[in-house]
């Protein structure tokens, strides 16, 4: 069994790591000191179990799940010092969690449950319960983008526009391009609260990045964006933009 321990505080990781090392069933213990490192390690090492601190700077525990996808998460034990809201959610969804500080007995009881879940092969029957922890749109102010072996955060508000390209989309950020795995339709829903509007079947634009519009023909416009990009507003989506702006073009 391979286990990843995620916590931004070193002593908190040590507490769990020390317990894991005494367990002969645990072949390998991995550590991550923040959410981004956790996402990287989960993707590259595919551990069987993750002890996931809920409160971490930048990308917190739920952000990690959101980046990986609930269905792709290893068996997860949430660890928290104090978060009554989260604890109620764990209880309601029958998820495993540890409250800091915890006794060795409490840890052992959790481990026994985890092992029986791994043993019976229904490790992933809790996906839906984990997914229920994550509100659908609230966490999308940053996208977690992996490229060239490193993971970056891109603030939604820094993206000028997004272009569909196959199963990926291209994020246009300050004149640079990043590939991101998602459908344009999904992103359009998630980014709408952050001032993004669909202007074309294959383009999603940040309203704050529009410099001006240029009419081309037959009621079609071209949007001129910051950092030199241009993209077309199709007639089909023009009405949506007008509705979003509350005025006619």
């Amino acid at each position: 069994m391979r286990v990843l321990v995620v916590d931004d505080e070193l002593p908190a990781r040590q507490r769990i790591v020390d317990l894991l090392r005494k367990d002969p069933c645990v072949e390998r213990v991995l550590e991550a000191e923040n959410g981004i490192a956790a996402v990287d390690t989960i993707e590259s090492e595919r551990p069987d179990v993750v002890f996931l601190d809920v409160q971490m700077p930048e990308l917190d525990g739920l952000g990690v799940i959101d980046a990986i996808g609930a269905a792709n998460m290893p068996l997860t034990v949430f660890v928290t010092a104090y978060d009554q809201h989260a604890i109620r959610a764990f209880e309601a969804n029958a998820l495993d969690y540890l409250l800091k500080p915890f006794s060795d007995e409490r840890y052992e009881a959790t481990m026994t449950r985890i092992k029986s879940r791994l043993g019976t092969g229904n490790a992933h029957n809790l996906d839906q319960n984990i997914a229920a922890l994550i509100p659908r749109t609230s966490r999308f102010d940053r996208l977690v983008v992996k490229s060239a072996g490193r993971t970056r955060f891109i603030r939604a508000t820094d993206i000028d526009w997004i272009e569909a390209s196959g199963v990926y989309v291209t994020l246009h950020v300050a004149g640079t391009e990043e590939l991101y795995r998602a459908s344009l339709q999904d992103l359009a829903e998630k980014l709408e609260p952050f001032g993004f509007v669909r202007v074309h079947r294959s383009a999603l634009v940040n309203l704050d990045s529009i410099l001006h519009l240029e009419p081309i023909s037959h009621g079609e416009f071209e949007v001129v964006l910051k950092h030199g990009s241009r993209c077309r507003i199709s007639r089909a989506f023009r009405a949506r933009l007008e509705e979003r702006l509350g005025q006619a073009l």
Partner: protein, 241 residues
């Protein structure tokens, strides 16, 4: 007749003066009462910060993690936590302490945070020797440092540095608490956005050491991060003012 007029005049002046003294007495009472209330609030805030569930439970968890690994460190942390709690329970009867005493209390808090955040948290103390005996409102520094750690450092995974400095500027004591974190959010405004902890701190500084030179300013630092700057009349312990 002339004498009568004079008597009436004196009577009026006398009543007026009496009334003025009475009002002054009342406003003095009110001022004292307000100071005491603010002090009670500051104590409550300091206690709440030490008993801040995140701080308390994470500290206990840190101790728990070191019990086997490093028993000496675990015992040292228990002592720091004990001293910290004792300090806020005992400070009941004094409103002012020397800066040296205030720093000693702060050290217990910082010692715990440094163990929790390991090398992510750096603290620089830079206090001139000639202001160590200066009188300051007690429990002044901890809420400021707590704020720097919470907003400036623990919200970034790369960590950061908190700097506490104190020096004499002519007849004033100047204290600065700075971090190199994210800085104030856009649209932050000291009058409107001050949290309860800091607004109590501000009121106490003005209440205990108010003068035309007293200041309490929170702003962004030129190279990133936030800084609190306090200036108040320098009063050394044992000096009569």
């Amino acid at each position: 007749m002339f004498l009568w007029n004079w008597l009436v005049y004196l009577l009026i002046v006398g009543v007026q003066q009496g009334f003025r003294y009475y009002r002054q007495y009342l406003s003095g009472e009110v001022r004292l009462e307000r100071l005491e209330r603010q002090f009670a609030e500051a104590r409550l805030n300091a206690l709440r910060m030490q008993l801040d569930p995140h701080f308390l439970f994470n500290t206990l968890n840190t101790i728990s993690s070191q019990v086997e690994r490093d028993p000496r460190l675990a015992r040292a942390m228990i002592e720091h936590l004990g001293d910290l709690l004792r300090n806020s329970l005992e400070s009941k009867d004094k409103q002012e302490v020397t800066l040296a005493e205030e720093l000693a209390a702060l050290n217990h808090y910082l010692a715990i945070q440094k163990i929790r955040f390991a090398d992510q948290l750096k603290v620089e103390l830079c206090v001139d020797a000639d202001v160590k005996s200066a009188c300051v409102p007690c429990l002044l520094l901890q809420p400021l440092v707590e704020n720097s750690i919470r907003h400036g450092i623990s919200s970034r995974s790369s960590g950061g540095t908190v700097t506490v400095s104190a020096r004499r500027v002519e007849k004033l004591l100047e204290i600065r608490v700075a971090d190199d974190g994210a800085g104030l959010p856009a649209g932050w405004n000291q009058e409107k956005s001050l949290g309860i902890g800091l607004s109590v701190t501000q009121q106490r500084i003005f209440g205990l050491s108010g003068s035309e030179d007293t200041r309490f300013l929170i702003g962004n630092r030129p190279n990133g991060g936030t800084e609190v700057e306090i200036r108040m009349p320098l009063k050394l312990a044992g000096e009569n003012v």
